[in-house]
């Protein structure tokens, strides 16, 4: 955990000018107007002014120099103009040790800005940690402010966005700071599945602090200026003797490509906040809210001729699943989640005829699109988010099976693969599945099959639903026999087509790829009124 210095800065910048403007604020309360109240008004204005400059101009300049915006600038950019309503501007920390009780160590609002506002007109709660005040460190008061808006967000049903930029716990406060973290964690857990929670890491986030973003639905990072780790490079060095930089240990690249902790990274603060506004448009406000529908200019019956020629003739040849997704969704607009992690599965948000949908697709271009530990976990978490927030799931299947090998078995592919199976099976939102090519073995079952309550399951003419590829199957069925090539051809003839699944009703129709968009849009209209509930339970026991 990083610490901070207790250097006082000139924060009461404009304290004495306050009297000039207080008049207008008092108009409605004129009967309370008196000389004694004037000094209170003075103090109100003074505190407000102080709150607005946080740790003072010097620290603001330092923040800018690091290529970062201040807590308030970030909120201004994230929220619609003049829509932000701030809470708890007068809250101050309550620490009385180590000289913290001194006036010059008290900052109105403490090290976080909280409140609610609008993003493209829709309500969102936000907290933005202020690095210029005690390095954004978390005091009891800081935590209390965050908890307050989280409670209210859950009560009214609106998402919570956290803009994280904090050195860690307020060490002077000791256990009070730790308690603050736990209070936030509890609320993160309680809010999970009730309102969407988004974390945007815009500076350091270390130690216990990392668990709040980890509990939220989406964690985004800013490249080069944000870090997430349990312990920093110094502690790593002393414990494991590893030499590692902050960036290598917990930078945006590490977490978006290696660990899978973060869902996406953006170029800088401005880019991240503008993208977050765009991302927010995809989300419902709460679990009681339907998936949002926006005005759509892309014809729902648009044919996509390019898809008819996309799947290569040879089943061993790769193609890009993103070509299918981009072709089918509204305006080729696809917000990919975790684009650089477990790339053998593609997940993300898009719209169909204006309605938000979650897309899951095997990616034949990477590791043949097989399911392994990482891709199963990535897919499962995404499917569960969609299910929790009424977002229909569209699944594109081209999967040769689960990845074999000791690395996967020792790593627990059975347990992790089960997560994806579990997630698809328990989901009650509309589920539409398109088998574009291979659907082999257990992976066929897993990928939102009819058997897992898929509402509409389609096969393209290139679909092959089978227990395994022809070669492997023939080696087992005709072990030791001659004419393997002939048998292989027979197996291909029998299973390497959509008919075995279609005659059993395991796919509802075999469709021309170019009509896929049209069919899905129509199905989503029908399924909009879908109602399905799982048996009562305290909660399910997903194989974690």
């Amino acid at each position: 955990m990083a610490t901070y210095t207790l250097v006082r800065s000139s924060r009461f910048l404009a304290g004495t000018v306050a009297t000039a403007v207080i008049g207008s604020r008092l108009l409605h309360n004129s009967r309370w107007y008196s000389i004694s109240h004037l000094s209170v008004q003075d103090r109100i204005e003074e505190k407000r002014r102080a709150a607005l400059v946080g740790g003072g101009q010097k620290r603001i300049d330092a923040q800018h120099k690091r290529g970062k915006l201040t807590a308030r600038e970030r909120i201004d950019l994230l929220m619609d103009p003049e829509s932000f309503v701030e809470y708890d501007m007068f809250v101050e920390h309550r620490c009385a040790d180590f000289g913290m009780e001194a006036d010059h160590n008290k900052y109105p609002g403490d090290s976080v800005v909280t409140g609610q506002g609008r993003i493209n007109g829709r309500l969102a709660y936000v907290f933005s940690q202020d690095f210029t005040v005690f390095g954004g460190s978390l005091s009891g008061a800081h935590a209390q402010k965050i908890c307050k808006i989280m409670d209210q967000a859950m009560m009214v049903g609106a998402p919570v966005i956290g803009l994280n930029d904090s050195g860690g716990a307020r060490i002077q406060e000791g256990v009070e700071s730790l308690a603050g973290y736990a209070d936030i964690f509890l609320r993160n857990v309680m809010a999970s599945g009730v309102v969407p929670q988004i974390s945007l890491i815009m500076g350091p986030c270390a130690g216990g602090a990392v668990y709040s973003p980890a509990l939220t639905d989406f964690t985004f990072m800013v490249k080069d200026t944000s870090y997430l780790f349990i312990t920093g490079p110094d502690v790593v060095k002393s414990v494991t003797n590893e030499d590692v930089t902050q960036e290598e240990l917990g930078g945006a690249r590490t977490h978006t490509a290696v660990s899978g902790v973060a869902h996406r990274a953006f170029e800088n603060d401005v880019d991240a906040l503008l993208n977050l506004r765009n991302f927010f448009n995809f989300l419902p406000l709460s679990n009681k809210d339907p998936a949002p529908v926006t005005e759509c200019h892309d014809p729902s019956d648009r044919l996509v001729p390019g898809l008819d020629t996309l799947v290569p003739f040879e089943s061993t040849k790769a193609y890009d699943m993103l070509d299918i997704i981009h072709g089918i969704v509204d305006e080729r607009d696809f917000f990919e989640i975790m684009p650089n992690y477990a790339k053998n599965i593609v997940v993300g948000f898009a719209r169909m005829n204006g309605r938000t949908v979650g897309i899951v697709g095997n990616q034949p271009k990477v590791a043949s699109g097989c399911l392994d530990i990482n891709s199963s976990v990535k897919g499962a978490r995404f499917v569960r988010f969609c299910d929790a927030f009424n977002i229909p799931i569209i699944t594109f299947v081209d999967v040769p099976g689960f990845l074999p090998g000791t690395a996967q078995e020792y790593g627990g592919i059975i347990r992790h693969g089960a997560k994806l199976l579990f997630a698809f099976a328990e989901a009650t939102v509309p589920k539409i599945t398109v088998i574009t090519r291979k659907a082999y073995g257990g992976a066929y079952d897993v990928m939102s099959s009819k058997h897992l309550r898929g509402d509409v399951n389609y096969a393209w003419p290139s679909a092959e639903v089978a227990v395994m590829g022809a070669k492997g199957a023939v080696q087992i069925i005709f072990r030791g026999k001659e004419n393997q090539a002939e048998a292989e051809a027979e197996y291909v003839e029998t299973f390497a087509n959509p008919f075995p699944a279609a005659v059993r009703g395991f796919v509802d129709d075999i469709i021309q790829p170019s009509t896929t968009r049209k069919r899905i849009c129509r199905d989503l209209e029908v399924l909009a009124s879908k109602k399905q509930t799982n048996p009562w339970k305290k909660h399910a026991n997903i194989p974690l």
Partner: protein, 646 residues
């Protein structure tokens, strides 16, 4: 199989296909299709055995060879003749005579056709090439005897260039035509390339169907062609036509053919070569003469006499063809690019526009074939009319997924020199001495572009606030736009579909029937009709717009976001002088260096072959080679690291 012209309806067509891009457009259009092999052309479209099998299998009575591939292969024509199948083209003798540049020149001389001074024989080696070059005097042209289409062709201005040119041309000739014989002739500097279309039957009749001006070229390959030429007067036209016909007659030519001439500034013309096939640019001749050349070829092959007399051949109107290539025009006027056509719409709904293509949305542009996407032809009553139509056609052409040369085509056709007809084969290097840089924006252009970007941005903003059951009213915005490194503050207001944008103190009104999903943006900007295309639009305000052919990047931010952006750290681009990246996708055919070698500026490091073109990659500075990341035979993508220097 029904071979009963002129009843086109009974015509049964059969296409040969390779397995690579199955199913393609020509497969869809044909009644029957046969696969002749995998993607590399040597295994499919150049594989005579496979094609002969396909002919037998379908019982085809005649074969139209198209252009390229086996269209000028005398062996193919001979094998067809041996099996009693009609080759829709000239007979073997004419193909052989004209296919060999050395022999054709001798025949042309004998037929009293003007020829270029040169060495009428096969050049043995580089040293002999240098000797001949010195005798002729520089500059000289080294070209493949069997060649065509600019392949295996090099111009040399010095002894060293002659040696290098000899090596390249013979390699390219060997890989493209299986014949590495070369010849050398005097290079006519700054000429026009004008060709005469001829049509001859099997009864000794021959016609000339006027000329095609094909001077706009890059690396000796045609880019923009037109018919007629602005340069020829009736007398020259007639003289060229008559010489072309006399050459055709000299080789008992039958079918459609093209006699290419170089024409100097004094209207002297010299025979270059005769192409014994249909030319890529034949549609423009069809436009101005009203003749269907393929139909004529089939008639002639069947043995019919020509229907027309020379005086029946008109010049009606003006036709222009743009060759739309999948290539990056910003690199040497066009280096091949590959990719998948994620979106593709041809401007076929415009009147007077014809698009000949073999691809469709979803097609892959691969490294195996010529990177041509289509031939875009505009036809009008006058040249000005045809040019206007070409402008509209280029603006309305939607190509996504591959880099294409529309920016260059769009600039050429509006360039004052081109509009005035003042062109030569050196047009591109003369007009763009530092390489093509896209459309230079005038102040007025800049305002229009900024206004369009602002309107698009606001339209997207407004829509993102219109969720089902929610409406809100905002009518005025202040935006900060960045275009080509300059920053502009704009005020935008919106009412009833019209965006009023104040740019640099001037009001620009943007309206029109457009939406955020369509590929084309038909806008009315201050009352004038402009078709733009929005290629990408990011949530962070980056918009790329195709405007007047060129793609421009505009960043649109709110005033607040723009003012906060100044705090954002600058990300530095990588130093490119010490790394060599592949400028295009292709195959490495040779690596000349190894780690530790010292290379000089301009020294060849490796050779990349793409679309049958060999490209020499040279060092940008004198340095030691740090590491080599490619090896011979490897396929590389655009931007792949080849060699690192220290």
């Amino acid at each position: 199989r029904e071979w009963s012209y002129p009843e086109w309806g009974l015509f049964h067509t059969c296409a040969c296909v390779c397995v690579c891009v199955f199913p393609q457009v020509h497969v869809k259009m044909a009644d029957e299709a046969v696969c002749v092999g995998p993607a590399p052309t040597s295994k499919s479209y150049l594989n005579m055995d496979a094609i002969m099998d396909a002919i037998r299998q379908t019982g085809a009575q005649a074969v139209h060879p198209g252009y390229g591939f086996l269209s000028e292969n005398k062996e193919f024509a001979r094998r067809l003749a041996a099996e009693g199948v009609t080759f829709i083209g000239p007979d073997t003798h004419a193909i052989q005579a004209m296919g060999d540049k050395i022999e054709s020149k001798l025949i042309a001389k004998a037929a009293r056709v003007n020829t270029i001074p040169g060495f009428d024989g096969v050049v043995k080696d580089a040293e002999e090439a240098v000797k001949i070059a010195r005798e002729l005097g520089y500059p000289v042209m080294i070209k493949a005897s069997a060649g065509g289409g600019g392949k295996g062709m090099r111009i040399a201005w010095s002894d060293d260039e002659t040696r290098e040119g000899f090596r390249f041309s013979s390699q390219e000739a060997a890989s493209s035509f299986g014949d590495d014989r070369l010849l050398i002739e005097k290079y006519i500097d700054n000429p026009r390339h004008i060709e005469i279309q001829v049509l001859a039957d099997k009864h000794g009749n021959a016609l000339w169907l006027n000329e095609r001006e094909c001077s706009i070229q890059r690396r000796n390959q045609k880019v923009v062609e037109e018919a007629p030429s602005t340069f020829l007067d009736p007398a020259t036209r007639r003289a060229m036509g008559e010489q072309a016909v006399s050459l055709a007659k000299a080789v008992q030519y039958s079918s459609a053919g093209t006699v290419e001439f170089l024409v100097d500034s004094k209207k002297n013309f010299y025979f270059l070569e005769m192409n014994t096939r249909l030319q890529v640019e034949h549609p423009i001749t069809e436009c101005i003469t009203g003749l269907d050349l393929v139909q004529q070829m089939i008639r002639i092959a069947k043995g019919y006499k020509l229907q027309h007399k020379q005086e029946d051949i008109p010049i009606n109107g003006w036709a222009i063809e743009s060759r739309v290539y999948a290539e990056d025009p910003y690199k040497s006027f066009g280096l091949p690019s590959i990719g998948r056509l994620s979106q593709y719409e041809e401007p076929v709904r415009l009147s007077g526009v014809r698009v000949d293509s073999g691809i469709q949305e979803g097609s892959d542009i691969s490294i195996y074939y010529d990177p041509m996407i289509s031939k875009l032809v505009a036809y009008g009553a006058s040249r000005a009319d045809a040019l206007k139509k070409m402008e509209a056609a280029l603006d309305n052409y939607v190509i996504r997924g591959v880099t294409h040369n529309i920016p260059l085509l769009r600039e050429i056709i509006v360039h004052p020199r081109f509009v005035a007809g003042d062109i030569s084969t050196n047009f591109l290097p003369e007009v763009y001495p530092d390489g093509f840089k896209g459309h230079p924006l005038s102040a007025g252009d800049r305002r229009e572009l900024l206004a369009a970007a602002a309107a698009l941005h606001i339209a997207a903003q407004l829509r993102s606030q219109r969720f089902l059951g929610e409406q809100r009213s905002v009518g005025h915005w202040e935006l900060c736009l960045e275009l080509e490194k300059s920053v502009h503050m704009l005020a935008v207001s919106h009412s009833r579909g019209t965006y009023t944008v104040e740019v640099d103190g001037e009001k620009v009104e943007v309206s029109g029937e457009w939406n955020l999903a369509s590929a084309l943006l038909p806008l009315s900007i201050n009352g004038s009709h402009k078709v733009l295309q929005c290629l990408t639009r990011s949530p962070a305000g980056d918009i790329s717009l195709q405007y007047l052919g060129t793609t421009f990047k505009v960043r649109v931010l709110s005033v607040l976001a723009a003012s906060l952006s100044k705090h954002m750290p600058e990300k530095l681009p990588e130093d490119t002088s010490s790394i060599l990246r592949s400028p295009m996708p292709g195959t490495v055919v040779g690596v000349a260096v190894k780690p530790g070698d010292t290379v000089a500026v301009g020294q060849e490091i490796c050779v990349i072959e793409a679309m049958k073109m060999q490209n020499s990659m040279t060092a940008a500075k004198t340095a030691k080679v740090k590491s080599v990341h490619c090896k011979t035979g490897e396929t590389v993508g655009e931007g792949d690291l080849l060699v690192e220097l220290e």
